[in-house]
């Protein structure tokens, strides 16, 4: 321990009875409870905290709050690494580990600082002017170097171990900022009895007043607000954005300050607060003065210096020069004096020093010098003094701290998030909130109240820093001006002014004022750049909340899912579901399994879980009429008890989905959709029922979750089912293909569809989901074996049934060989757009089958079809949509969409897969590979 040499008396926030140990760059230090990392380092006399972005200039503390541009630190904790954290916002806890950034090999001796030496060669935007040659690949070389030099801290690649949470909250009044102004608002609103939420990013309420030597005056107000049960105070919570509908988004740092982290509790919490009224009381941000070397460690904001002394008893140095252009600098001088720290002089830029403040200063033996502004700092390893211009003459003052105040800029940020721009008020010299949306108001320092008039001194010091973090100097602003980047937005982007982690909180005003002076435009016309959320950077973890990792999306489960998982189903993602690809036996791979399973269906019987199908009940006097308009295929003539295949289009004539329609009663239909389109089809039907034809009396209810569905397919399906529910029920005479019948299985009514996807005799059992697993087990017990979605795909490809890869959002019924289903003599969704010339064009790709010329060759989905097998590039006439090895054919087969399909029939073309260097000669054949007559349905 090297003692806290710069700890002084006072410090209203720290608890000297509670020393805390911490490390900075590996070196141990001690601070007190209540300290921030910044104040503790200051108390320990550590002045060098970081290196700047571009020139690697040594930097120290500049501010005391979230506006800090320089002191960016990496904190490591419990295996987590948090780079770019402002030392001013890190509350000290025992064992804190912090390291500096952007310096190598060490903060004190940083090789990167050579960029400072060559800085004349690398002004703003230099990279736009070079690194272009000699060849066009040159940039890739230079870029690698530049990227290594750029960036601030290192990001860990280890998974974040913390958890994050989210809270939706509601309050009649939300107040941002718990300074005096916000507290008063909270108190007033609280008295009306409504719910009030008061947000402040600091550890405790009080705001600016806490920086005063004596802040006891605010204590009663704080206590009164705390006592109000209807007022919630959120401390350590940054309101980072205002969004539509009077929503305040904020992030609460729940555990970052705690010595021991509760792993179960969230580290941070995202608050989404809905208000009837938002009051912004965000205060003001002190601005720097412009002089050569104003970025040196030891040069800091006058207001911040007060805070370190008064709140933490930490001395920024041992001898201070105050440089100010407003009255607030004097308070800083008094605080230094009160702490026993000598004040060399107050350099006041104004023509006359203010009375009685100046008198008060002189009484304390402080020299007050009017018409004085710093020209440059004297720095060698540490700050030694300043050279000032005093009424035209040069004078030197010794010091190791410069406390500067360039005035206070209201923190207008949140007032502009909904699109307003702040207005420049000439008389006060500041940008103030303007054009506020209804429901939002501003109070306190944010409106300029209590702030001194602001006057930005233009500076001729070329190497005065405007943006400390991004190393933008007056010279850069001048260069931007010279080169025509004069709009503030161009200035920002060309020089990177205000684009750092502090978003120019202490830079933008000086930058735009300098540009205004150069162009001769008034500041009002120059304007600000756009303020955007977040107000201060917010962790991505907090924004992501609970919905990460496995919770990114819900996982939908069929009622039979547990069984698949427990019985060897190889599960694969399918949209929001996971479905069994197949059930490989020990030693069997999935390819073998799917072929075995497909054979089983063709030869005997198999069962597959198709619960993921969408299912919709359409009821009402106009149900038939409604569905007739929804499907392009015929609906109205469907008899009660019968079912049929149906196709529906989007209004642009493209196929949207296909499925089964069954008529349960005169006014009652049961329809299925594909798994992938279920939600879309439901919304589509609701749209047309509610918006297009509200006069139709129809009700549309999703029963996707009400019914589990099991397809029982294969020549032995009838026999199998008869065993469970009696042979009579499955008599072809009373239960023909295709139809729907309600049949009791084990005491439960099951909707049985005689429909077939495989081409074999098949039944789909739609059973109330609670009973689906039990029915599945009964089927197994009766001798059935399961098959998965891969076998299902084989079966449908052999039959030439289209599915997702063919119904890809571009294909029309004709493209898919479904033209004969379309009833142009009725009105339906999509009819009119089918009649466009481009839709009728024969060159549109349409469905065909492909068989390999050499039967051993595999045809892959995603292969492109060409007429030739030579040449790296070749015109494509279509592509393979689906493919498999066909057990019935004994060779690979595929479905494809190709141009001029009719002409191409029986021709040999090439399925090319250059991604794997494969070319397969294939013959264009019918898309139906198996049982074109449909005889198997009745076997």
């Amino acid at each position: 321990m090297n003692g806290q040499a710069f700890r002084r008396a006072g410090g209203q926030i720290i608890d000297r009875t509670k020393p805390l140990r911490f490390r900075f760059d590996g070196k141990p230090y001690e601070g007190f409870a209540g300290d921030t990392l910044a104040s503790a380092l200051m108390a320990n006399g550590v002045r060098l905290l970081g290196r700047s972005f571009k020139y690697h200039r040594p930097r120290g503390l500049m501010a005391i709050g979230s506006d800090e541009p320089n002191a960016l630190i990496t904190v490591r904790r419990d295996g987590n690494t948090e780079p770019n954290t402002r030392a001013t916002m890190i509350e000290l806890y025992d064992g804190l580990e912090a390291t500096s950034q952007n310096a190598w090999p060490s903060l004190r001796f940083d090789l990167g600082a050579v960029s400072n030496a060559v800085s004349p060669m690398i002004p703003a935007g230099f990279y736009y002017k070079t690194f272009m040659g000699p060849t066009r690949h040159a940039w890739m070389f230079y870029e690698a170097l530049i990227r290594r030099a750029a960036g601030l801290g290192f990001a860990s690649r280890e998974p974040d171990a913390s958890s994050y949470s989210k809270m939706n909250a509601h309050a009649e009044v939300v107040i941002v900022g718990a300074g005096e102004a916000g507290l008063r608002e909270a108190h007033a609103a609280g008295q009306t009895g409504v719910r009030v939420i008061l947000i402040d990013e600091a550890a405790q309420p009080g705001g600016w007043l806490l920086r005063e030597r004596d802040h006891s005056s605010i204590a009663p107000l704080i206590a009164a607000v705390r006592e109000m049960p209807n007022v919630t105070i959120l401390s350590r919570t940054t309101a980072f954005g205002v969004y539509d509908g009077l929503q305040v988004a904020a992030v609460e740092r729940i555990q970052d300050h705690l010595p021991i982290v509760n792993a179960r509790a969230p580290r941070q919490r995202l608050w989404l607060i809905r208000a009837q009224r938002i009051v912004l009381a965000a205060g003001a941000i002190e601005q720097p003065l412009l002089f050569e070397g104003n970025d040196r460690p030891g040069v800091m904001m006058a207001g911040a210096a007060r805070g370190y002394i008064n709140q933490f008893g930490a001395a920024p140095g041992s001898r201070v020069v105050i440089a100010t252009n407003n009255d607030t600098g004097y308070q800083t001088a008094f605080d230094f004096a009160a702490a026993g720290l000598p004040v060399t002089a107050i350099l006041d830029a104004r023509d006359a020093a203010p009375e009685p403040l100046a008198d008060e200063a002189r009484a304390l033996n402080i020299a007050v010098v009017a018409r004085a502004s710093i020209q440059r700092t004297v720095y060698s390893g540490a700050l030694r003094g300043v050279v000032a211009d005093v009424a035209g003459k040069s004078a030197q003052y010794d010091c190791d701290v410069v406390a500067m105040s360039g005035g206070w800029a209201p923190a207008v940020h949140l007032s502009t998030h909904l699109g307003g721009k702040p207005a420049f008020e000439e008389t006060r010299g500041m940008f103030l909130p303007a054009a506020l949306p209804s429901g939002i108001s501003c109070v306190g320092a944010m409106t300029g109240e209590g702030l001194p008039k602001m006057s930005v001194a233009a500076s001729s010091a070329e190497r005065a820093f405007v943006d400390f973090q991004n190393d933008v100097t007056i010279k850069d602003v001048k260069l931007a001006h010279r080169e025509g980047y004069r709009s503030v937005e161009h200035l920002k982007r060309y020089t990177t002014l205000g684009m750092g982690t502090d978003q120019g909180k202490t830079a933008n005003i000086a930058g735009l004022s300098t540009m205004a002076a150069l162009t001769g435009q008034p500041i009002a016309a120059t304007g600000t750049t756009t303020f955007r959320p977040p107000y201060t950077p917010v962790s991505i973890g907090a924004l992501g909340g609970l919905e990460t990792g496995e919770h990114l999306r819900p996982l939908r489960r069929t009622p039979i899912q547990d069984w698949h998982e427990a019985n060897g189903g190889l599960m694969a993602v399918s949209g929001l579901w996971k479905r069994p690809k197949g059930y490989p036996k020990p030693g069997e791979d999935i390819l073998a399994a799917q072929i075995r399973e497909a054979r089983m269906v063709r030869e005997a019987v198999g069962i597959v879980d198709v619960s993921t199908l969408g299912k919709i009940e359409v009821q009402g006097p106009d149900a038939a009429e409604f569905l007739d308009r929804i499907y392009c295929s015929p609906v109205k003539n469907l008899k009660i008890g019968r079912s049929r295949y149906g196709v529906m289009l989007r209004e642009d004539g493209v196929v949207m989905d296909d499925g089964t329609l069954a008529r349960l009663g005169a006014n009652h239909y049961y329809v299925t959709t594909t798994t992938a389109q279920a939600a879309k089809v439901l919304a589509h039907m609701e749209y047309h029922a509610q918006v297009t034809w509200p006069e139709l009396r129809v009700s549309i209810i999703s029963v996707s979750d009400q019914f589990g569905a099991i397809a029982v397919a294969g020549p032995q399906s009838q026999r199998l089912l008869a065993r469970l529910a009696g042979a009579d029920a499955f008599d072809d005479a009373t239960f023909p293909y295709p139809s729907l019948k309600s049949i009791s299985f084990g005491g439960v009514e099951v909707r049985v569809l005689r429909a077939s996807y495989s081409g074999e005799r098949a039944y789909e059992l739609h059973v109330p989901a609670a009973y689906a697993l039990s029915l599945w087990e009964a089927l197994l017990e009766a001798g059935a074996k399961p098959y998965g979605v891969e076998a299902m795909a084989i079966l449908r490809i052999e039959k030439g049934h289209v599915a997702g890869p063919e119904i890809d959002g571009r294909t029309t019924p004709a493209d898919l060989g479904l033209a004969k289903l379309v009833r142009m003599d009725k009105e339906f969704i999509g009819r009119r757009m089918l009649q466009r010339p481009g839709i009728a064009d024969a060159s549109r790709p349409s469905l065909v089958g492909l068989a390999p010329v050499d039967e051993a060759s595999r045809i892959r989905s995603g292969a492109q079809i060409t007429l030739t097998d030579v040449g790296k590039s070749a015109p494509m006439i279509g592509h393979v949509t689906s493919s498999c090895f066909s057990p019935v054919k004994g060779h690979p087969i595929a479905l494809a969409l190709i141009s001029n399909a009719a002409e191409m029939r029986d021709k040999i073309v090439f399925a090319r897969y250059p991604l794997r260097n494969e070319t397969v000669a294939v013959r264009v054949v019918s898309a139906v590979f198996y049982d074109a007559e449909g005889a198997r349905l009745h076997v």
Partner: protein
């Protein structure tokens, strides 16, 4: 003579040598990158919109078609539209041949752009990796990758392990809701510095004599006999022989001034940038299943985004639900992102068309040309878009590369729907 030319070019050209020379004179010898022009009474061609597309169009009109009496009218500051707010991904990995051919032409222009413009647009061919999270997606990417290869465009289909070697810090654990199956990689894809594109084209166009006029909003068209005679602007009437519109998110508005109604809706898309970090990710990654994509800028910020906000807007800003969605996808793909911080978020106005592809070509008004409907993907098109649009304006007929992107394709049914989402622009 030659030496004189060389010396002349040395004075205005950008180079390392020049930077060095300027260092000796305190950078005082630089001149404006482009001349801030006052409007003349008339031009041979006026381009509305000083984004990348408008500026590129002017540049190619001057350079390739000898049309130099040209003005670009920009209502704000050049590059301040979507050019200035996009996530800068450049690729030509499209599925449909019309798109692939057009975007490949663009990509080829990108590869020479810095040298052509003598302005470093920092085109970085760091690769674009599209992750696949299911077998079906692998097949879809195979289809795309094969089509690309057969069109002479580079692409590679990666297996899970290959993806893992490229970007090991993505979530390859059991916890992943959407496991990574593999991906489609286009190595020649990458990113470029968006602002530099606007500035570089402006400077190069200006050097040819093109007038770049900022703070000049077009408020109407003056027409006679079904032809445009000029435009009304906030800086007065300006005559024009022909007019090209390249106003992205405001396409419907400007076209409406000429009586046109378009198959476009303007939606908001947000984008995000993190605090600057040392190198973390050296390629562009897109994560379709999570609706998320990410890259790292040269400054060190992670630049990322996701879906549209899904509502029409002209406000250039979005709302929290999409911020949360994007962040949760970010965390899910890169579980180490949690402690890293979002620095800034913003929005842009997307001119979403009814088939997700742009419209570049003729309009029902004789000498009025349309370039718009770029959706969220027009930055990568910038050079090629300007190139074909210049051709179309100069010759009065579309180039074969942009002929398919005609306005009348909606009427004829010859749509270019790469995503297959149909006439619901917010779904593209």
């Amino acid at each position: 003579m030659h030496i004189l030319l060389l010396l002349l070019s040395m004075t205005s050209r950008y180079s390392a040598f020049r930077l060095f020379r300027e260092a000796l004179s305190a950078q005082k010898g630089w001149t404006p990158a482009w001349a801030d022009a006052e409007p003349k009474s008339g031009y041979d061609a006026i381009i509305i919109g000083g984004g990348g597309h408008g500026l590129a169009t002017a540049y190619y009109l001057a350079k390739l078609h000898g049309l130099r009496n040209v003005a670009v009218l920009e209502k704000g500051w050049i590059g301040g539209g979507n050019t200035g707010r996009n996530t800068t991904i450049i690729r030509s990995n499209y599925l449909l041949p019309q798109n692939a051919q057009f975007y490949e032409h663009c990509l080829k222009l990108w590869e020479n752009l810095s040298l052509d413009l003598n302005f470093n647009v920092m085109f970085s061919q760091r690769g674009v990796l599209n992750l696949a999270n299911s077998d079906a997606q692998m097949d879809a990417y195979a289809r795309r990758g094969n089509a690309m290869r057969l069109s002479g465009i580079d692409s590679e289909l990666l297996e899970r392990d290959q993806v893992r070697r490229m970007v090991p810090h993505m979530d390859f654990s059991e916890r992943a809701r959407f496991p990574i199956y593999g991906g489609l990689l286009q190595k020649r894809g990458g990113t470029a510095r968006h602002d530099a594109v606007a500035w570089g084209y402006a400077r190069a166009a200006s050097a040819f004599g093109v007038d770049i006029i900022q703070k000049c909003e077009v408020t109407g068209f003056r027409m006679a006999d079904g032809r445009i005679t000029g435009v009304e602007t906030t800086r007065g009437f300006i005559g024009a022989e022909r007019v090209g519109m390249a106003v992205a998110g405001h396409t419907s508005q400007v076209a409406a001034m000429a009586g046109l109604k378009l198959p476009i809706e303007s939606q908001v898309l947000q984008a995000f940038v993190s605090e600057a970090l040392k190198p973390f990710l050296d390629t562009v990654v897109t994560f379709g299943a999570g609706h998320f994509y990410i890259s790292q800028s040269d400054k060190g910020g992670l630049v990322f985004g996701g879906d549209l906000d899904f509502y029409n807007s002209y406000a250039s800003r979005g709302n929290m639900p999409m911020v949360e969605d994007v962040a949760s996808a970010a965390m899910s793909l890169f579980p180490s992102l949690g402690p890293l911080r979002l620095l800034r978020s913003w929005g842009g106005i997307m001119d979403m068309t009814m088939d997700g592809s742009p419209i570049i070509g003729l309009t029902p008004v004789d000498n009025l040309y349309l370039n718009g409907g770029w959706c969220y993907g027009g930055f990568k098109a910038t050079p090629g878009s300007g190139w074909v649009f210049a051709h179309t304006i100069a010759t009065g007929t579309p180039h074969p590369l942009n002929a398919p992107f005609s306005l009348d394709r909606f009427e004829t049914g010859r749509l270019i729907d790469d995503k297959g989402s149909g006439p619901y622009p917010w779904l593209h």
